[in-house]
């Protein structure tokens, strides 16, 4: 600890926490205000959209989300009820459930994506100099590799 956690680095940590919290609150607000979509739902829609056939198994969906298995089940329940996604049985393996974007889900994502990307640009990206972008990439990669 003596070598790694000096005053400056602790200050960087605090700023990191505050910035993250403020950014998430802001992006959530904007998305909710302009397209009435929770950020957690956006994450699911974006994942599915990236997947081939715009569908994924529950298990694979979970992989990039910060969520428990049961949490995902419940989130998909709500999104299905809202008509944004639908579940379908897997023909090859009856244990598996596929989750697919509905047309309505695709529309919702098309509406939400520009709003969200604009927010990331306005509140995060536009402040980063090229050096800072490089520092972020380098530093976060190092941390993630060790975790």
């Amino acid at each position: 600890m003596s070598t790694s956690l000096d005053e400056q680095r602790l200050e960087a940590w605090k700023l990191f926490l505050r910035a993250h919290a403020s950014l998430m609150v802001r992006l959530e607000q904007e998305l909710e205000a302009e397209v009435e979509l929770p950020l957690t739902w956006y994450d699911v829609l974006a994942q599915l959209n990236r997947a081939p056939g715009q569908r994924l198994r529950m298990h694979d969906l979970l992989h990039d989300l910060v969520l428990s298995k049961s949490g995902l089940s419940r989130r998909i329940d709500r999104m299905e009820e809202a008509g944004l996604v639908e579940r379908a049985a897997c023909p090859q393996d009856a244990r598996v459930v596929h989750v697919a974007l509905t047309l309505q889900g695709q529309d919702a994502l098309q509406d939400a994506m520009p709003i969200h990307l604009r927010g990331i640009g306005e509140h995060f990206a536009r402040f980063l100099t090229p050096d800072e972008v490089a520092a972020f990439e380098s530093a976060f990669r190092k941390m993630l590799r060790s975790l």
Copy 2:
């Protein structure tokens, strides 16, 4: 958007999110495993400890926590029940409630602090070169000023 959110900056955003999520999970686990204290409680104890007389009004406590008014009421309920803090009336203004560290709360913080600081050092700070520390400080400050 066209000027501010290129590929690299979007990648930096994704790494920022992933790093934050992984770090919080890890720090929470370590604190819970070694001293059985939720990170959210640690934050309250640390705030109080910094305050003169180790006490703050609810309203002031709220200021640096990412939480709603009612969320704070409930968190203090639980911490009070656990014996870590106690509420006291304010002699000057009967609307105000003070929250103070108990002896047990001070002990808990003394146990938890080295664990938590060690974690921040091990999983975050030790990966930052001096340049990266400077980049973090500069970038996050810019974002926070605008939010």
